[in-house]
């Protein structure tokens, strides 16, 4: 931190110490920086643990390997869901919230002490729930559907974790207020911060829902409440369980914009459009919790249709807008840098060797093509009959949360390490291939699980071969199902390799990476596109103006795939037994 300067903050923050980031010129509150570091490190630790459990799960579901015993399998599956879907993601999101408020706005962070209180609560809660699971009598899955019961500290840990995260959300909002009052920026907050605000708002709803349902469930587990309605539990639980994944979507879209800005200098095509797309998320994205309630008895079709469609697909509209504006802003920036030949020179000459950019673009493509399309199909009321609780569901959300969110978070880490930890990335060659390994593995996991789900294979199931010795009424899935599960296992190994590489690179960089100072601050962010100006007159129009043929082709391809896949599934549905 050779260029660090300590200066006094503004009114009301006399003790705040800042440094000036040598790469970006941003003023970094050291208290915020410490919080970001702590949360990011905790996130990576839980990714390592939860990812390890995930590999065990995949290897058990591979019939030829069938690694774990049944009780260990259900234990590992419970731990996998909690550690990656909640702990890794939410710890990382806390770091993102602090970064997007204090650092991007060059502001002091609100109430850093409370930030530590929240962090400690989250750590204690995460450990408590993990201990409950590892003790072996709380293998109730991530969803812990009542009346199945876990030990009280399973729920208590989750409650503490949620309270800690809620504190983080309020610190984010408080920092926005401080930055505005102390005029650390002019006009509106930057788009990335607005995306983080979207994530924060969804997080508040998520955590409130979690409190509404987990506190009574905790009291039920210790005997103070006699009965919890299973359907009511499920309704409210998913307002937490699914919305927590919508925090991810907002956060990783914000990160796409962030990485595009830092690596290729992309600027939003239209502030108005991008922000309106986020507004659609704020209003309607959480309704998609109904995706889990489509084949439940006791809810009307009206409720199902309105909610599952995010109010007439308005939140999907938001995603489809981001799906065009993110690559569009990259194309515009690249064309401005001189990559104007043909339709795709901007993409070919993008910094694919920079893991931050590569991870971001892979995340964008996989989230859209695999996660987005499958999510809409899965969330169609009647189509859900063919998919509910089959492996199609984890197939879908491994495309969104693993190939989408996790890969985006990994990608941004390659910027966070030099910017916040102020260390160069060690082993740049390995870092270069890491996003590809992980991305291809994750998309394999997703595709093969969706394939198995289409063949009917149940999720959360220890042995789909139903050996006649144990099963009274054996049933055999088609042999292709076993093939799918094998390919899924291989993909999981590939993804795990990418995951191990990520953890190793991050840890080694933080511990042994070369210190970043003014001399290497920009280089430490990885390879950037070199400006070339070859054609005085660009063939495809001026980059500053709106002509983005490459983006149109990508978006057209996406849309065609979407329509075809959507209607193919209606065709499959029409072949089912008639039912009403």
């Amino acid at each position: 931190m050779t260029t660090a300067v300590a200066e006094t903050g503004m009114i009301g923050a006399l003790a705040t110490k800042f440094r000036i980031c040598p790469a970006t010129g941003l003023r970094v509150d050291l208290a915020a920086e410490r919080l970001i570091k702590a949360n990011a490190v905790a996130a990576v630790v839980f990714l390592a643990i939860g990812g390890g459990f995930g590999l065990l799960v995949a290897l058990t579901r591979w019939p030829a390997v069938h690694l774990l015993s049944s009780d260990l399998f259900y234990l590992a599956l419970t731990a996998h869901g909690l550690d990656v879907l909640l702990m890794w993601i939410i710890f990382f999101e806390m770091a993102v919230l602090y970064f997007a408020s204090a650092v991007i706005l060059s502001s002091r962070i609100a109430a850093p002490r409370w930030g530590w209180v929240g962090f400690v609560l989250m750590i204690v809660g995460a450990l408590m729930t993990n201990v409950a699971v590892l003790q072996g009598d709380s293998s109730v899955m991530f969803t812990s559907y009542v009346p199945m019961q876990a030990r009280p500290h399973f729920y208590l840990g989750l409650i503490l974790f949620a309270v800690g995260a809620l504190i983080g959300c309020f610190i984010f909002l408080g920092t926005l207020v401080i930055a505005k009052e102390e005029k650390t920026y002019e006009g509106s907050i930057p788009l990335v911060t607005f995306g983080a605000l979207t994530a924060c708002i969804i997080a508040v709803f998520t955590i409130a829902s979690g409190a509404i349902i987990l506190i009574p469930t905790f009291l039920w587990s210790v005997g103070y409440i006699g009965h919890i309605d299973s359907l009511m539990y499920k309704l409210v639980w998913w307002a937490m369980g699914h919305s927590s994944q919508q925090i991810n979507v907002s956060a990783h879209v914000a990160i796409w914009y962030l990485i595009a800005a830092v690596t290729v200098g992309a600027k939003p095509l239209s502030e108005k459009v991008s922000r309106t797309a986020f507004l659609l998320y704020i209003l309607f994205l959480q309704l998609a919790a109904a995706h889990h309630m489509l084949v439940e008895p006791g809810l009307s079709s009206e409720w199902k249709i309105v909610n599952t469609s995010y109010m007439m697909y308005l939140a999907v509209l938001g995603s489809m807008i981001h799906g065009m504006t993110v690559p569009g802003s990259i194309e515009a920036a690249q064309r401005k840098s001189g990559f104007t030949r043909g339709v795709f020179e901007w993409l070919r000459k993008a910094p694919w060797g920079n893991p931050a950019f590569a991870g971001m673009f892979l995340s964008l493509v996989m989230f859209g093509f695999l996660g987005g399309i499958s999510g809409v199909v899965l969330g169609t009321e009647q189509l859900n009959i063919m998919m509910h609780n089959t492996l199609y569901v984890p197939g879908h959300f491994h495309a969104t949360v693993v190939a989408g969110t996790t890969l985006a978070f990994m990608a941004v880490t390659y910027l966070v390490v030099p910017l916040i930890f102020q260390r160069e990335i060690v082993w740049p060659k390995l870092a270069k291939i890491q996003p590809y390994l992980f991305g291809i593995g994750a998309s394999g996991i997703s595709l093969f699980m969706m394939g198995a789900g289409t063949l009917g294979v149940a999720r959360r199931h220890w042995d789909i071969t139903f050996p006649a010795l144990d099963v009274t009424l054996p049933y055999g899935y088609s042999p292709a199902a076993s093939l799918m599960m094998g390919l899924n296992g291989l993909s999981a190994i590939l993804a795990a390799t990418g995951g191990v590489l990520y953890v190793a690179i991050v840890v080694a960089s933080i511990l042994f990476g070369k210190k970043v100072d003014a001399s290497n601050a920009v280089a430490a962010l990885g390879p950037m596109p070199k400006k070339v100006v070859h054609d005085a007159v660009a063939k495809y129009g001026d980059a500053g103006t709106w002509h983005l043929p490459g983006t149109y082709v990508l978006v057209g391809l996406f849309f065609t795939t979407f329509i075809l896949y959507y209607f193919v599934n209606w065709k499959y549905l029409s072949e089912l037994w008639p039912m009403q």
């Binding site: 009346p147 199945m148 008895p297 009959i385 999720r459 009424l473 049933y475 709106w546 089912l576």
Partner: protein, 184 residues
């Protein structure tokens, strides 16, 4: 850049490029099509989940299923002791879920409709009819009446696809579908 505040103070009035507007319009229309597709299928489609649901004491449901099985039992499934029950075509059929079985085994006639009553006696279970891949969630205390019409003869498996405890993977059931007038 996206990490800086918008360049102009009033960004809301900045014009939106035509191509972007076109895409927003297309995406919005597509959303409407998908929305009305679900409604269309409720009117013209054959596969819609029944909303005939009521609260029931699990003990009562168990009693009704037992009565049903006793009344229409045609044989036993191998040496398992599980009754195979053949309800009258067009009539009511019962199947209960409990850790870890679907009970009893049903025999239905192809092309005939049945009112299938399903519920759970203990935890949540997942009724997954294979290989046609039809999946319905089952709750304790809620009776769900689904009218189904088998279209092809064969032996169908019922797999539990909602995790229900350490024996979840052995929880299976069976439905036979026979051509009209056969079986029994």
């Amino acid at each position: 850049m996206a990490i800086h505040p918008p360049q102009s103070r009033v960004w809301w009035k900045e014009p939106i490029a035509k191509a972007e507007l076109v895409w927003i319009g297309v995406a919005f229309l597509w959303g409407l099509i998908m929305f009305f597709m679900m409604i269309y299928w409720h009117i013209y489609g054959q596969q819609n989940l029944s909303t005939q649901v009521g609260r029931i004491d699990p003990a009562v449901f168990e009693q009704r299923t037992n009565d049903f099985a006793e009344k229409f039992k045609v044989r036993e499934e191998g040496d398992t002791g599980i009754p195979v029950v053949k309800p009258p075509a067009g009539g009511d059929a019962y199947m209960l879920a409990r850790t870890y079985e679907w009970w009893p085994v049903l025999e239905l006639e192809k092309g005939k409709s049945y009112k299938l009553h399903i519920s759970s006696l203990d935890l949540q279970h997942g009724f997954s009819l294979q290989p046609i891949n039809m999946n319905i969630q089952v709750h304790p205390g809620l009776e769900h009446v689904v009218t189904i019409t088998p279209t092809e003869a064969g032996i169908y498996g019922v797999v539990c696809n909602e995790y229900c405890g350490l024996g979840h993977h052995v929880m299976t059931g069976r439905i036979y579908v026979v051509d009209s007038g056969q079986g029994g």
